[in-house]
């Protein structure tokens, strides 16, 4: 029963997907190249396998989503790509060099729930953190950095709240602060862990707008997402996980009944459609 309703709910999306003109897709493919090469990536927590033998390519100029059920290792995959958790096998290359050695190219936004929002800091302080690496040791922030931070705050609509303590923000506002921080890092690779969890519609719209702008600038975007609802249409490529790689490629290639069935073990999923 539940499976049927799931597929029924899904079918409009698939139809819409199939209607996308192949010609248009090809032209965007021309601009994007394989930015990140992941081969045989595996992660173990103590003796338990969290992620096994993931092979895939993440393209620049695309918004790539990491999807899968709870506990599928979505966040773990993102952390493993960035070297934030010890990997048990494999390697991650960016432009044919280990990504770990090019972390200055990366802007990473952790899950909002991993942060202590009662930390004594203002919106300004947090966004300014994005400039720490560019500023370098023993130096204070430059006028350029302050300008970059101001622009990022304006871009996400948080300029008026720049002096507010972060503990007094709503979930959506907190997420926009993190988005602004990522923008100030002027990175090539943007990684977001569950940016749409517990946020308002306005914030979601702003985030997707900025994702598409960044993709248009040929940046690489990697987004962990819990929700297979309507917002799926905003992603170009998908990585479907369930402790191992189920499927990867364009959204159309990945979102097949068979793949989804394998990823979600035929169990019900929640739709925000």
């Amino acid at each position: 029963m539940q499976n049927i309703s799931f597929y029924e709910k899904f079918s409009p999306l698939r139809i819409q997907v199939e209607e996308t003109p192949t010609q248009a897709r090809k032209s965007t493919d021309m601009n994007s190249t394989a930015a990140i090469n992941i081969s045989h990536l595996g992660v173990h927590y103590r003796t338990q396998k969290a992620l096994g033998d993931v092979n895939c390519i993440i393209k620049s100029g695309k918004v790539t989503g990491i999807f899968g059920p709870n506990g599928a290792g979505k966040s773990t995959l993102m952390k493993a790509i960035l070297g934030l958790v010890p990997i048990s096998s494999g390697q991650v290359l960016y432009k044919n060099q280990p990504l770990m050695q090019q972390l200055d190219q990366v802007a990473y936004v952790p899950q909002r729930s991993q942060i202590d929002w009662n930390y004594p800091a203002t919106v300004w302080d947090v966004v300014m953190m994005g400039r720490v690496r560019k500023t370098g040791w023993l130096r204070s922030f430059s006028t350029v950095s302050r300008q970059v931070v101001k622009e990022a705050l304006e871009r996400v609509g948080m300029k008026e709240l720049q002096n507010r303590p972060i503990g007094e923000l709503s979930g959506g506002q907190q997420q926009r602060v993190f988005l602004a921080r990522a923008l100030t890092q002027q990175a090539e690779i943007f990684c977001f862990d569950e940016p749409f969890l517990g946020i308002d519609q306005k914030t979601q719209t702003i985030i997707f707008e900025i994702f598409h702008e960044l993709a248009a600038e040929n940046k690489t975007l990697l987004v962990v997402n819990h929700d297979l609802g309507q917002s799926t249409a905003h992603f170009d490529d998908l990585i479907l996980l369930n402790c191992e790689l189920i499927a990867t490629g364009s959204r159309q290639e990945v979102l097949t009944e068979e793949n989804l069935h394998r990823a979600y073990n035929g169990k019900v999923m929640y739709f925000a459609a």
Partner: protein, 287 residues
């Protein structure tokens, strides 16, 4: 009034103790702010109890007691990290195990050696600020200078790391070295504070001034600066109370700083129990 305040200063031991008290009040508040924001108050307690065997061994072999205490403090943090990473034991349990073991070893060693060395276990546990020597004032000043310079120099990196360790690591900051550096700062601060308040009460000077300031201001550097002011005021008032009413100095300082915390808890404009009800309704931000 002024004469009353100046009177104790004619004694050399009071001058030295006041200098130490001020330095320690300042230093503990600044470094302790990092413990508070990382929710690592228990780690401060663990390190402070763990320095005891280092002190004892330094005494036995005639080495610098600051160095001995520092090494023991660092060993304890490494032991905690080892247990946490190599076993399913959680960090708080690891801290409890390590610091009580170190503390027991320290108490045992000091008890064994105290007869022949004319030292007193109580002085290590609760401080003995009135007996500080010129050399100890010098050592404490050097430690305070080093620690404050490092905190200022690494302020932006430590802010990023203590707020969002994963984000800092992903940005390419050497988070393991930053964390170890922070542990060194905390261990140095505790070692510098032993003489003033002893290993048991030093936690109060590390956590309470920062926590008090946290109720009043909203940015980390403000917490540190206001915390330092609170720490220094508490140290000075505690010393005077101790002088005029013949109270033990360490506990007197701790009682003053705790009293200031209670005032802030009750009357802070933003978070006070009696004063923040207007703010709470205004805090309902949506959007």
């Amino acid at each position: 009034m002024l004469n009353t305040l100046i009177e104790p200063l004619q004694y050399g031991f009071m001058q030295r103790s006041l200098i130490i008290a001020i330095l320690v009040g300042l230093l503990c508040a600044v470094v302790g702010s990092y413990l508070m924001v990382q929710r690592l108050a228990l780690l401060g307690d663990a390190i402070s109890h763990s320095v005891l065997p280092g002190l004892a061994i330094a005494f036995m072999i005639g080495a610098n007691i600051f160095a001995g205490a520092f090494i023991a403090g660092i060993l304890s943090t490494m032991a905690i990290a080892f247990i946490k990473t190599r076993s399913p034991i959680k960090e708080d349990a690891a801290m409890g195990i390590v610091f009580s073991a170190f503390f027991a070893l320290g108490v045992t060693l000091i008890t064994v050696i105290q007869k022949s060395n004319k030292i007193d276990l109580n002085h290590f546990l609760f401080g003995n600020i009135l007996s500080v020597t010129v050399d100890e004032v010098r050592d404490t000043s050097i430690i305070a200078t080093i620690v404050l310079i490092v905190v200022v120099a690494l302020y932006k990196e430590l802010l990023f790391y203590t707020f969002d360790p994963l984000g800092a690591q992903a940005a390419g900051l050497p988070v393991n070295r930053l964390n170890f550096g922070l542990m060194l700062l905390i261990a140095l601060t505790i070692v510098a504070s032993m003489k003033a308040v002893g290993v048991i009460l030093v936690l109060s000077l590390l956590i309470t001034p920062g926590a008090t300031a946290y109720l009043l201001v909203k940015r980390l550097h403000e917490v540190m600066i206001l915390g330092a002011v609170i720490g220094v005021i508490s140290s000075i008032s505690g010393m005077y109370l101790s002088y005029f009413y013949n109270l033990p100095s360490g506990p007197a300082i701790v009682l003053v700083v705790s009293g200031l915390f209670i005032l802030a808890l009750l009357f802070s404009p933003r978070h006070g129990i009696f004063t923040s009800h207007q703010m709470k309704s205004g805090e309902n931000v949506k959007g």
